[in-house]
Amino acid sequence: MTTVANTAPKLRVQGLSAWHGDRQILDQISFDVPAARITAIIGPPGSGKTTLIRCINRMHERVENARVRGRVELDGRDVYDPHTVPEHVRRRIGMVFQRPHPFPTMSIRDNVLAGLRMTGAGGGQGDEAAVELALRAVALWDDVRDGLHRSTDTLSPGQQQRLCIARALALEPEVLLMDEPCASLDPVASARVEDLLGGLRTRCTVLIVTHNMQQAARVSDRTGFVLDGQLVELDDTDVIFTAPGDRRTEDYITGKFG
């Protein structure tokens, strides 16, 4: 792992707080995410990790009674600027969820193209190439090349999750947010998804939430530790796992709690 402190930040989160009704979930979180790197967010369940990444592509505000304050800058521009359209933000910042949810009425091929089609960008000559490119990026192409028109029910959960990653990649996002993408998968499927992540680094900036510390240690360049809605510390992954600056981080990664 290389030190990445001098790389220009792709994302800059400043003073981000979030509420759900009266309950405050995030409290004044600030950090930078370097471009073309994998940043992992670890922390115990319920600490606000998922809410944190949902604030970055403006998904949190879709929930009833949800509120956000603070800045999230993508290439220096605040995604919460009143003139910014949330849909445009979400096209540039893709998201993969904890459980795979391919669209059930669409074939494998149409699932990959769903984002392009829905936003009116697909339907051109480039479709076939886009499908192959996205499916190759998630190592699914060889499994499904002969059955692109089949239903997604024919895929295993691990394959479905990789299809969902391909669906997000087909839009060529600049940032990919991943919310515990392996949590619902068996160890073998989980390992295959992890294998992809290194390759994704060349395509986009990745921010991955996980409660699996080994996973964070294996795949990420930078790791942040979130506890009770606060970012305790964020540093290069090897620093976090060998010499954390905060007592609470050390307690967490050595298994004293969480």
């Binding site: 849909e87 969820f97 949810h101 009425t105 089609r117 829905m118 936003t119």
Partner: protein, 275 residues
Amino acid sequence: MPPPSRRGPAPWLATLAVWLCALLPVLLSVALVVLLVRGLWAAETPAGLEALIRPRALVTGVIGSVGVLLLSVAVAVPLGVGVALHLEGTRGIVRRLLSLNVASLAAVPSVIIGLLGFELFVRVLHLGHGFVVAGLTLSLLMLPIVTMAARAALLGVPSELHEAGCALGATRWQVTRHVVIPAALPGILSGAILAITRAFGEAAALLLVAGLALPSRPAEPEDSGTPRLFVLLTDAGAEGRGEALVGVLALVCTLLGLCGWALVVRRRHAHGRGR
């Protein structure tokens, strides 16, 4: 004395009862057909025989009914889905009031709906009696059924699919159109089938808007079958009987055909997403 056997007569009785229940609809259908054929046989009037030879009543009944039905489906299904989508979008008291309103509409007797259709389409909008008004009135009857079924179907679409669509940068309407409605389609089609079967057999609502004009011009091809039969069977003497019975036969066959077709369509959609 040995304990009573568990494999005694009780399962036999239950099996027999279940079989009888299963056979009941078949028996009813057979009885209906037998009665119809016997009625036709007995109708030894010129009109009855004529109806058998020249199937005017049959053609009139089927064309009229199918036409009116298609019109009402074309009006009621898009409107019903629209109302259901709107109900999804609203929150709190507005949604509660609206859904209460839809539920009560479903319970309104069809005669009242007929009166409403008569007042609205014939008296206020001056659309006249006949095809269009009959179709619109039936669509009023179908609307609440379609709406409630569509709503249940839309509620059944997992919220994760909405989320996944939104995360791809699609607007709410784009997600609804490409993801939610296709996923809810089998349920929406079931509701439409239910509404069709209710509307098809409906005479009371149509007697007011179309049926009243029937006796004066009984051979108009646009007349819907059911109210026409109602008039023929209740008012006419022996001369209309044969025609009416042929008409009943035609209606039953058309209804069964439509239901079968709708079930096939539904199955195909359910399968398309299945495997």
